[in-house]
Symmetry: C2
Amino acid sequence: MLEITSAQNPRLKAAHKLKDRRERDKTGLFVIEGFREISRAKSIEIETLFICPELFLGSNEGALIQSTNVETLKLSPALFKKLSFRDRPDGLFAVGKKPESQLPKLSNNPFLVIAQAIEKPGNLGSILRSCDAAGVDGCIVADRCTDIYNPNVVRASVGTLFTVPTTEMPSDELLPWLKKNNIQIVATTPDTDLEFTHADLTGPVAIAVGTEQLGLSDAWLSQADIKVRIPMLGEADSLNVAAATTLMLYEVLRQR
Amino acid sequence: MLEITSAQNPRLKAAHKLKDRRERDKTGLFVIEGFREISRAKSIEIETLFICPELFLGSNEGALIQSTNVETLKLSPALFKKLSFRDRPDGLFAVGKKPESQLPKLSNNPFLVIAQAIEKPGNLGSILRSCDAAGVDGCIVADRCTDIYNPNVVRASVGTLFTVPTTEMPSDELLPWLKKNNIQIVATTPDTDLEFTHADLTGPVAIAVGTEQLGLSDAWLSQADIKVRIPMLGEADSLNVAAATTLMLYEVLRQR
């Protein structure tokens, strides 16, 4: 195993630069940090793995390192902490290749999430975690705003970015694709009387949610097959977007 | 209206220091930034209001400023951006007094949220937003970890920190108080067969959720009256804590 001892090491510097979106776009590489995240990244081609055994939290790191089957570079705790994007690094930091973007395979009764132009990596990560839990066919990010390979998406998703088929697509391609596949677009909006628990969500559905600030765009609202609202009994007029998405996904599960 | 023109102004420096928890604890003051947040802080005694009209986004700022009825200090955009805790400040930054901690008033059919030792301000803020929307009697933070007056809690809650009766209390005082008031403790945990949609949540309930890393402590799990699980169909073993809380709250609403 190679050991890196200088902060000026070019591979270390290249990996740290992947914090920057332009660098990820340019190289096609991204960062997967943490034991659970790397464990779930079975679908990803890992290129390099930086480790720091002094920072390991468990006892299964050895098996995980072997399973990735790539070159492993060892760092001191001080160097690893410089490389890490986290407050409490756990000694595992992988560089992986972004997979090719492809539309999710549809099940017999399609169940999709459309996340339009989500801004905050934490929200997108939390949405993916709920997508994994609810067993959706896939999550399609329409009109990308936050990069799905942002390290904070990987982290907030706890690696479910790799278990949920996830891709990006412009709305003007995605809308006709959904129509062609007879998938009902379900839009959450305050401008309807139909409560989400009263809508029939048992058929093929795409749950569409919009940006934190403005909600879904007019294109999505006007093409929605079902518009539902989430009851709001307090002073605020909306929920956090990931919370709202989770409610919708589990309502589909409950009805099915 | 006073205008501050120096970054060395002591009132400006004192306000900026409130980013730091120790400073908030010492002074009993905290920051409420943003139009919606300040609008919802009717229950809070505002001490100072910093404004920057060039950064206002809407046209109702004047009325809001008048309604706070406190000394207003004007800043240039450059100074305001230095003061602000946000990426996109909207020209309104208030310093308020932390209210006295008190237990929420119970309705005829009590409905509470217990958030144990939540670490991330964004999660606590998102939980409060859902508490507001679901009309709970209050949210009690057991064994505080993140400070409820952290500026990021105020922001992520979009000011619902002020519309939801919120307080902090150690678990060993809170547990007997709930028992005394005949409120059923509902714990969410993977270690049960009862799905949350099958439990009877129509009576007086306190929905208890635990830390992001470890879930609820043994004290809460052992004293819970009802243990429920949220179905997890994917690879991950839990949802984001705010997403899970939202599901539980809306299930109570649906059943009631």
